[in-house]
């Protein structure tokens, strides 16, 4: 991975992290989704989902056992992987 790619990836990570911290979940989802499409093994997206749950959900025993963020990002990553292989 080139230096530029790494910097862009870090920038994406920062945007996703800030969005999750302040609860802008749709922004985090969109930026994370774009990141997962462009970067290989974008596991930061999954980590962001878990961070969202840990901050706002985990113990709520609500929708999806409070794991909505983790499960959503995991499903998106699982969908993206074969899609990327198919398109490229």
């Amino acid at each position: 991975m080139s230096r530029n790619h790494l910097l862009i990836r870090l920038l994406f990570d920062c945007v996703v992290l800030i969005s999750v911290l302040f609860g802008w979940w749709p922004v985090a989802l969109i930026v994370g989704f774009v990141g997962a499409w462009f970067f290989p093994a974008y596991l930061e997206f999954l980590a962001a989902g878990f961070l969202y749950d840990a901050l706002f959900g985990l113990n709520s025993s609500q929708f999806m056992f409070g794991l909505a963020g983790t499960l959503t990002t995991a499903v998106l990553l699982a969908i993206l992987r074969p899609l990327k292989l198919l398109v490229r």
Binding site: F22, G23, A54, F56, G57, N59, Q62
Partner: protein, 263 residues
Amino acid sequence: MTYLAPRNKAGAWRRRGWLAGIVAVVFFVLVWQAPYFWSGLFTSMAAPFWRAGLAFENGDLRSPTSLLAENEMLKLKLANLELTLASSTTELLIQQNQDLLTLLGRATTTRSIYTAAAVLVRPPATPYDEMIIDLGQDDGVSTSTNVYAPGQVLIGQVAEVWRHTARVSLFSSPGRSFNVLVGPDRVPATAVGEGGGEYRAQVPHGTTLVPGDIVTEPALHDRAFGTVVSVNTNSANPFDDVLLAPPVNIDQLRFVLLNLQKK
């Protein structure tokens, strides 16, 4: 002769699959066994960022001169309000109420102390009608501490406490229920959280209710819990569906009050 070993792609995928499976199992066991560990850890890490965000939102990053000027102006306003309050009938009524309670042997032996807490994160940023506030164990907050919006409107309870922060679960959180008295006839009902700061309750068909009627807590001290937003009547149904909402917009709350009782 030396041969390069052919890559065993299927084997590599199987190994990755196993690894992912093990990581997933470990992850879910950790989440199941120690959920408070993760939320406590990440909340304490996120709290400084939330505080910075709140300071920015409140305009605390202004110059000291303008802050001092505002402080002086607020002090003057407070002094004026205290004077008005002292001479108003509200104060007399409160005193009269207290005297009557003492006469009936129901004077409170505990002293309610309301402590203001800043709301660090609130709905709609939080998904389950929850709030994160900037007071925690060190400030005397414990789980089940009642949380009020300004005007002593009961909105929720502390669900989780960390050292410097706490998570408040609002009564409007989906599935949560709270006993209330609805309308001028004080019809007992159970308000069930609907999310988005709203509740739903059922009252017997024929109960006279109009939008704007007050909903109170079933306690000796009448405290507002919400107001009636709409009433859905169906003559085939023995109960009327009532939509309730707190008189304050929880999405705009910047401060809440915590009822820390002291003997």
